[in-house]
């Protein structure tokens, strides 16, 4: 097959190049690889045309069941994505560029990242942001490692109402670092403050909380921040950026390091990635931040420009003493986040947040009206809430999936004794009609049991 569309040389050009190099064949260039080490088999299928390739990809996509109506969240959320996000992040000058190590020919990426960092700081009410991390879970882990460095201590407390996925990622990251991790079992779907008080002492580096938490509850951690600071520890808050359109900011709460997943900001669900993780902190911690940071400066003519800064923290300079091993981040997804936030804008983000809450409150009332269904939360919620069903939630979810409704995340597999509980997510994309249909389907499913 002719692959000259991606490997462009003609046989004549190859001959000319070989003669310049002074070898007789391309194979001779592989002489440094000892013959006995050469691959004995290479069983990949033969290649195909672009048309056939796309056809195969369409087939694969078609093997997933389409058109599910999502009432599931769990860290990834089905939000609107304005058309400009695809079009502008789809500019090849952005997506086929590399890390902006050469600032003069990378001002586009650098300024965009500076604007992104600004958006994250303003969203979280904190002073400094980096240029993105991998995802929400790894951002929690990076924040925990940052707190270990800042405090010089080796114990991390984690509220059990933080996403079980993020908790697992933190545990995996810290497993080999001689760090003690203590999980605090939630009480009524909230942080168990009495237990926290009994655990806080000067060996604790940080407490990790999430707001809204995995069950959907909104908590005010202002007093907790005071308690945590009282023993010289840091408070790490994992937050949901859409909710920050209206909710109290990490800065106002006294959170030291805010992290989260940026998927909801203009990145498609895409079966779990790519999204991006964000991290913002109080200014005093900037030298302990992981990953790339863009800073403003001037050129020799005094013209404003942007450059990767404080690189002495990073792996390519500090190697094993770096603040993190991260190199590639999720730059293009962060750019999508910036374009999303700039399109929705100052008033729009608040409106979007309220819309999410309105839809979720409607759904909550609708589901609570079904006999046997109870809303578990006493605390206020944003766009997720937890209901208790009269039977195993996993069975109910499996049944409703057949009707094209992803009803929510059953809690049983993550919390022992919660087999009848279901976390339901309602974003602005869910119409009243869809919510009504969900409620009706759930009601018939539950009635079916009684008979």
């Amino acid at each position: 097959m002719n692959d000259s569309h991606y490997c462009p040389h003609t046989p004549e050009e190859i001959a000319e190049m070989l003669s310049t190099i002074g070898v007789a064949s391309v194979e001779e260039l592989f002489a440094p690889i000892p013959t006995e080490l050469r691959a004995k088999t290479f069983n990949l299928p033969a290649g195909m045309s672009e048309f056939e390739t796309y056809g195969r990809m369409q087939e694969l996509a078609g093997d997933n069941t389409p058109g599910m109506v999502n009432f599931i969240g769990g860290g990834f959320y089905d939000h609107i994505i304005p058309a400009v996000v695809d079009h502008l992040s789809g500019r090849a000058e952005f997506y086929t560029a590399y890390t902006p190590y050469q600032p003069e020919c990378s001002q586009g990426t650098l300024q965009a990242l500076f604007e992104y960092q600004t958006a994250i700081c303003r969203l979280t009410g904190l002073d400094v942001s980096n240029a993105s991390l991998y995802d929400g879970g790894t951002a929690c882990a990076e924040a925990a490692m940052m707190a270990l460095r800042v405090t010089g201590r080796n114990k991390i407390l984690i509220d059990g109402s933080v996403s079980p996925f993020s908790r697992q990622v933190v545990k995996t990251y810290l497993f080999n670092l001689d760090v003690e991790i203590v999980e605090i079992d939630p009480l009524d779907g909230l942080l168990n403050r009495a237990e926290l008080a009994s655990l806080l002492d000067d060996s604790v580096a940080a407490l990790l909380v999430q707001n809204p938490n995995f069950f959907g509850s909104i908590e005010d951690f202002t007093a907790v921040a005071g308690q945590v600071h009282g023993v010289g520890a840091l408070l790490i808050g994992s937050v949901y950026p859409i909710a920050l359109g209206i909710l109290k900011t990490p800065g106002e709460t006294g959170i030291d390091i805010a992290v989260g997943d940026g998927q909801s900001l203009g990145n498609p669900l895409s079966f779990g990635g790519p999204s991006f993780g964000f991290i913002a902190a109080k200014k005093t911690f900037i030298r302990n931040m992981p990953g790339r940071i863009v800073g403003e400066t001037v050129d020799k003519n005094g013209t404003r420009g942007y450059v990767l800064t404080l690189q002495a923290r990073e792996q390519h300079i500090k190697r094993h003493k770096a603040t993190s091993n991260i190199c590639s981040n999720q730059g293009l997804c962060a750019l999508r986040g910036l374009i999303f936030l700039s399109a929705v804008g100052k008033e729009g983000l608040a409106e979007l947040a309220r819309l999410n809450r309105d839809k979720a409150e409607y759904a909550k009332a609708r589901l609570a009206a079904i006999p046997g269904v109870t809303v578990l939360q006493v605390a206020p919620t944003f766009n997720e809430f937890t209901v208790s069903l009269p039977k195993d939630a996993a069975e109910v979810v499996a049944e409703l999936l057949k009707a094209g409704i992803a009803a929510g995340v059953p809690l049983g597999q993550y919390y022992l004794g919660s087999e009848n509980c279901l976390v339901v997510t309602v974003t602005e994309k869910r119409s009243k009609k869809e919510i009504d249909k969900f409620a009706e389907a759930l009601q018939s499913e539950l009635i079916a049991i009684h008979f």
Partner: protein, 482 residues
């Protein structure tokens, strides 16, 4: 250029949101609300489009400029890959984790499974996890797998060190440090590879792993690689392969055949997915069978009926290194790339990548010092030491290239070469493009002798000249105040 925030007008909007079809919910208590709106931009859709379009024009990119950035494999990114990834945009990852959900996700799980099989064949490994989100994330995952392996054999306390050559990527020691290891660095010998005698001295039973890039960051294939892995294995240390340079050897040699136990691949380098201005990447990790019990969960397995399932019952697992299944969209692109090029296509990729690097090496050798003068693989490393005699540094040559429309090669890496200039043309560039680049490199060498000031002044054609990096580090202005 103005920042987007400097173009804001209160009340202006870039997008209209859907109207509500439900009642307004009662307000949340004041104590839970933010005091003021987040200070986001307030611009029209056209303002937004002009701003980001104009910003994009301030970038060099593969689609606009030759980008011979060593170690980064900046090959052309086929457009059909973008179209392919978009097909999977609507699928929620939680669906697969719901009871009965895997049946609805056989396409996406099937693609991940198939990609794992293809990568296992290319690298000579037994199983691949697609969870790691980038190359360094793969390294960390891989070294954690090695730590779990040693711990399972009762050797957690005994195994303390990871050995790396001094030419290694900075991520190698940084990743090993997260897995709890101390680092032993072995110098490079005059023949361009890790010094074999010093390596032997460094190896003890306390070494957990040896991390290598092969071909290494000098672009050289280590002919002693089998001997090195035999020595490592004799000390019960495992061999880790940093796949950053895999583009050189596809179909020619498989890391798994020459003694490597764990490998990560950079899909955004070898397998044609775009770099996105710094990410997203994707760093799947392949392992030999002895390490399968420790792989992250959920693990995608095929049952007896050919259905894909998620296995979460593995007691030995290191856990989870990311929230879901990895950077799926990036993997969809890499999968499309691999099936499109196929067996012959991938062999041709490696052959032409190596041909191109050797061609540039031979053509530039008379003008630039070549500290390791031998047949290279996919990249070659020069030194600007001849030019330094005239006061011209590698960075000056880099800036001169920018004025001529070329993204500079990687400079000052690997650190073992003084004034390093690391060139990786990749297979997708034509001879004409490389010839024009070579001429400009020759011109830079001539200017260094005749008119060094011109190089110090470069670049002159960009929106900004060289930046005051000290000021940036001192003032730490990392967001727009106000």
């Amino acid at each position: 250029m103005q920042l987007i925030y400097e173009q804001s007008t209160p009340g202006r909007r870039g997008v209209k949101l859907p109207a509500s079809d439900v009642p307004v919910a009662p307000s949340l208590p004041e104590s839970l609300l933010r005091a003021e709106r987040a200070g986001l931009a307030e611009v029209s859709e056209l303002d937004l489009v002009r701003h980001f379009t104009n910003l994009s024009r301030r970038n060099f990119s593969v689609d606009t400029n030759f980008y011979p950035l060593g170690s980064c494999t900046m090959k052309y990114n086929a457009k059909v890959l973008e179209n392919s990834a978009n097909l999977f945009a609507p699928f929620h990852p939680m669906t697969a984790l719901l009871p009965g959900g895997v049946e609805l996700c056989q396409g996406t799980l099937g693609m991940l499974y198939d990609l794992g099989q293809l990568l296992a064949d290319i690298t000579g490994m037994d199983e691949v996890t697609t969870q790691p989100l980038a190359g360094a994330h793969g390294e960390m995952t891989g070294i954690m797998l090695i730590a779990a392996y040693h711990a399972s054999r009762g050797n957690k306390a005994k195994k303390k060190y990871v050995v790396v050559p001094d030419s290694s990527h900075g991520t190698n020691p940084a990743s090993a440090a997260i897995a709890g290891y101390e680092i032993i660095t072995v110098p490079t010998a005059p023949y361009g590879d890790m010094d074999l005698e010093l390596f032997k001295k460094a190896m003890t039973d306390e070494v957990a792993a040896v991390m290598m890039t092969c071909p290494n960051t000098l672009g050289l294939f280590n002919p002693h690689i089998k001997e090195i892995s035999d020595i490592a294995h004799s000390h019960d240390a495992l061999m880790y392969y940093d796949g950053a340079n895999l583009n050189a050897i596809m179909g020619k040699v498989k890391p798994g055949d020459v003694g490597f136990d764990v490998i990560h691949v950079n899909l955004h380098k070898t397998f044609g997915t775009p770099h996105g201005g710094g990410g997203p990447g994707s760093g799947p990790v392949g392992v030999k069978s002895a390490l399968i019990p420790f792989l992250p969960q959920p693990r995608i397995v095929m049952d007896d009926d050919g259905l894909l399932q998620l296995e979460t019952t593995n007691q030995g697992t290191i856990g989870r290194t990311a929230n879901f299944f990895g950077n799926f969209g990036v993997m969809a692109k890499a999968y499309a790339y691999i099936i499109m090029l196929g067996r012959e296509g991938l062999i041709r990729v490696s052959e032409q990548a190596v041909l191109n690097a050797n061609y540039i090496k031979e053509r530039l050798k008379p003008y630039y010092d070549l500290p390791y003068d031998m047949t290279c693989m996919h990249e070659c490393v020069f030194s600007a030491s001849k030019q330094l005699a005239h006061g011209v540094h590698a960075i000056d040559i880099a800036k001169f290239l920018i004025d001529r429309g070329y993204h500079p090669p990687t400079v000052y890496f690997p650190m073992i070469v003084k004034e390093a200039i690391m060139i990786e043309p990749t297979e997708t560039e034509s001879k004409a493009t490389m010839d024009a680049f070579i001429e400009v490199m020759i011109e830079a060498a001539r200017e260094a002798e005749l008119n060094p000031q011109a190089l110090h002044d470069a670049p002159l054609t960009m929106p900004i000249s060289r930046l005051d990096e000290t000021k940036a580090a001192r003032e730490q202005k990392v967001c727009c105040v106000g």
